[in-house]
């Protein structure tokens, strides 16, 4: 989120080209001498990033190979196959499907999951009793603290054929069948459970923005005879719009990255049709089916798309709203 704070003005890019008295080398030496302590502090950090972030990027080479355990990744034994795996993926039956599901799940989560905490925050803000509001907050934050495994475990229990949700819906004529066997119910289950666990937590940031609204504005409005509704539209909302925009930008940048964890905890092969997303596909191809190179290629495709999206969204937002991630 607060990657925005990295933005200290100016473009991200190469170091500023202000050339001072001497050459780059001399300056570098002077800098290193003066600040060696800090650089020493940074050494473990740099090593960490090189090993655990950049070395895996080197490992992306296997996306262009027929790699198997025991086979070399570079040098002699490596078997380069170019873009074969990418072509296979694009031509595969599953390509359209995982892409479609990723977008569907992501957009649905955005469409319903994004406004929910805003609305909750606005309503909490209107509660007259501070104690009541605080009590409600304590309760609605709670679901955020159960782990993903437990959340999905609860979903599994509640929506199976004799689960409580299935039974309650049964009164309204739903079939008594495990809801996770119905492909059409997967996205609703995914989105609603996401809202259940995240809405309270998500509202905190908006509540903070709301608490910053100048009370005098309301008083002035009231004197002008503006009703509550008008106040909300004309005072409250505009005040939290910047927060909303930042949040929204960040979410849109991730439209093609649906994490695999919740998916693989919830799905089953009966509903792959609607539930299988790129990340779960990568997981299955790589770790379950040992198709290492292919899986890596699909993952790389996803990373590249995501990176491009974030860049574009960031570009747009920095021109439109002057907020930027970096």
């Amino acid at each position: 989120m607060s990657a925005s704070s990295l933005q200290n003005g100016g473009n991200s890019g190469s170091p500023s080209p202000k050339v001072r008295d001497t050459s780059f080398k001399a300056r570098a030496i002077r800098d290193l001498k003066r600040n060696y302590e800090i650089y020493l502090i940074l050494v473990p950090v740099i090593v960490f990033y090189l090993i655990f972030s950049y070395a895996p990027m080197g490992g992306l080479a296997i996306a262009f190979q027929d790699w198997r355990p025991g086979r070399a990744m570079f040098g002699e034994g490596a078997r380069w196959v170019g873009l074969k795996h990418f072509k296979d993926f694009f031509g595969s039956y599953y390509f359209v499907r995982v892409l479609r599901n990723t977008v569907t799940i992501s957009v649905s989560s955005l469409a319903f999951g994004f406004p929910a905490p805003i609305i909750l925050a606005l309503m909490l803000n209107e509660l007259k009793s501070k104690y009541y509001a605080r009590a409600v907050q304590t309760v609605v934050y709670l679901p955020h603290f159960i782990s993903m495994v437990v959340l999905c475990g609860m979903i599994n229990l509640f929506v199976r054929d004799n689960g409580v949700i299935t039974q309650v819906l049964g009164f309204f004529g739903f079939p008594k069948q495990n809801m996770l066997l119905n492909p059409d119910l997967f996205v609703p289950i995914y989105v609603i459970s996401g809202i259940w666990s995240g809405v309270g937590w998500g509202s905190i940031i908006y509540l903070a923005a709301l608490s910053g609204v100048d009370q005098q504005l309301y008083e002035a409005a009231e004197i002008d005879g503006a009703g509550k509704w008008m106040q909300t539209i004309h005072i409250t909302l505009p005040c939290i719009v910047p927060t909303i925009i930042i949040q929204f930008i960040m979410r849109t940048g991730q439209i093609l990255s649906v994490g695999q964890e919740k998916i693989i905890l919830l799905y089953n092969e009966t509903i792959y049709d609607k539930a299988d997303v790129i990340s779960s596909f990568v997981y299955r191809k790589g770790l379950l089916e040992s198709n290492w190179s292919y899986s890596t290629a699909v993952g790389l495709f996803n990373s590249v798309i995501n990176f491009a999206l974030v860049t574009v969204v960031n570009k747009i937002s920095s021109t439109v709203s002057e907020t930027s991630l970096w």
Partner: protein, 298 residues
């Protein structure tokens, strides 16, 4: 909460809204709480009666502690707990050390190469090698099936590091300068000034990292092969998601025991969630603060 203290004139519509709002919030609370309530109630019900029950549960269906005794007797639950506590404590400690070092270094001004390092670090937030290459690196380092595999590769969350960096950058320069003039080294500045001053932020990060370790199961499922090293969540996954629970069910042979499988899952959820629920009221305000720290520019 921004509250409008002036109760001048309240239109009927507003009054109606207020009532609706209060009721709606109450309803919302019920939705948030009921699943927990249901799990508790189901876990202490008699399995057969629970199975026979249809619809919402308002009270236990009979009383039975069988599920709990099965869960608590299961050594793997305790192993999982022990491992998770280890990962939380050791992992979080390591996280904080690395994050603070990184944040301190990157928050210093006037360094030639800081910008490059910053770019290098931030880039990793948006692009990564992915699952398989990361796995290959970890195994290449000999960390496969080692507890360290859950601690070292995730040592710095770049996101958290940036929160920390922002906090440190916000510390007035004068504090550091005066210390430097007195001949303090950077490490001394870090430990004597920066860490105490940014302690609230560090506390928030401890919570973030701690909860992350507590909830984590995916990397454990990839990097560990020895069940004796499994964190609790991975074991929960076997029970709750994959229904691999027969080892709980000491004698699935009988009808009663087959039914007990029903309530064991609920009991497991409770056993695995109670610590968080107990700690939650005490930690809530730190978490809330954490969101602020994490989301708003200083």
């Amino acid at each position: 909460m921004a509250q409008n203290k002036n109760k001048i004139k309240i239109s009927p519509a507003e009054r109606a809204f207020d009532i609706f709002n209060v009721l709606f919030m109450f309803f919302l609370c019920i939705i948030m709480i009921y699943p927990f309530f249901y799990v508790v109630v189901a876990s202490i019900s008699e399995p057969a009666k629970l199975m026979a029950h249809d619809g919402l549960l308002l009270a236990p269906q009979g009383l039975s502690g069988g599920a709990y005794s099965s869960v608590l007797k299961n050594p793997r639950v305790w192993t999982g707990y022990g491992n998770t506590i280890f990962y939380v404590i050791v992992g979080t400690t390591f996280n904080i050390i690395m994050t603070v070092l990184c944040a301190y270094g990157l928050s210093r001004k006037g360094l030639m190469f800081n910008r490059i390092v910053t770019i290098m670090v931030v880039f990793t937030m948006y692009f990564s090698g992915g699952m398989v290459p990361s796995f290959l690196v970890v195994r290449g380092l000999g960390l496969y099936n080692s507890r360290l595999a859950l601690i070292i590769p995730g040592a710095i969350s770049t996101f958290n590091m940036i929160i920390m960096r922002t906090a440190m950058a916000g510390v007035p320069d004068s504090l550091e300068e005066s210390a430097r003039l007195e001949g303090a080294s950077h490490l001394q500045v870090l430990f004597k000034i920066m860490i105490p001053v940014t302690m609230p932020t560090i506390a928030v990060l401890i919570l973030y990292y701690g909860v992350g370790h507590w909830n984590s199961w995916f990397s454990a499922s990839i990097y560990l092969k020895d069940p004796s090293k499994y964190p609790l969540q991975l074991y929960l996954r076997q029970i709750l998601i994959q229904s691999q629970m027969s080892d709980m069910n000491q004698a699935s042979a009988s009808e009663d025991q087959a039914l007990l499988a029903e309530t064991i899952k609920y009991a497991t959820i409770i056993v695995a969630t109670v610590p968080i629920l107990v700690l939650y009221p005490f930690l809530q305000k730190y978490f809330v603060k954490g969101v602020m720290v994490g989301s708003l520019k200083g």
